[in-house]
Amino acid sequence: MTSPVTQAKLWFWQRASAMVLAVGVLAHLAVMIYAVRGGLSAAEILGRTHGSRWFGTLYTLLVLACAVHVPLGLVTIAQEWLGWRGPRVTIGAGFFAIVIAILGLRAVYGVVAA
């Protein structure tokens, strides 16, 4: 079982990432509602994002915050709903964090820089 100090640290990172996401997700919702008008096309999306430092910064921050926030949330659910604890859960969460970070940063690179 994770120590109280570790639990406090995980709580802190969950809330710190939530604060970043609160702002970033609001921006993402606005972008989506704007972007979806008239249907989605790759040309339209990439025309907006290619070379844009704003999109690059926003979505890099969103991806990193997600890589912290999502696995921590899943750990809580695994503990509370499934009763799963211990190193396997920690390793699984770490693996999920890395997957999100890699897929996310790859996607940001793809739409902004590639």
């Binding site: 509602i33 999306i45 793809g110």
Partner: protein, 118 residues
């Protein structure tokens, strides 16, 4: 002894806020890797991304996208409520924020739906 809550403890706005936050979080966590993988197709060029976007240009996928937008909006405002409870100067369950979060979810859903059919 393990005590378990029965339905009386759960039939309460704050419990439903918790439940919606948890289920929306789970759904978003499941959707996120797929979403990032699709956007990453842009690495292979515009045509690769466009091919997938055209494949998803069907009513079922659009409905799914709309659902994810609503869940994201609900999770966002539910999360802000938790931050306010934990870091804000007030005490209490912020039930006004539960209503506000529901309103925000409906508004975001309507705005996205309108944009989708425009």
């Amino acid at each position: 002894m393990t005590r378990r809550n029965d339905f009386r403890a759960r039939n309460h706005p704050a419990y439903w806020a918790f439940f919606v936050h948890r289920v929306s979080g789970l759904a978003l966590a499941a959707f996120l890797p797929l979403h990032l993988w699709v956007m990453g197709l842009a690495i292979h060029g515009e045509a690769a991304l466009d091919g997938f976007l055209r494949f998803t240009d069907q009513a079922l996928f659009k409905f799914g996208e709309w659902g994810m937008v609503v869940l994201l909006a609900l999770h966002l405002m539910g999360g802000v409520r938790i931050l306010l409870i934990e870091f804000g100067p007030w005490s209490g369950l912020r039930k006004n924020w539960i209503a506000g979060a529901l309103g925000f979810g409906i508004a975001a859903g309507l705005a996205f739906a309108l944009a989708l059919i425009s």
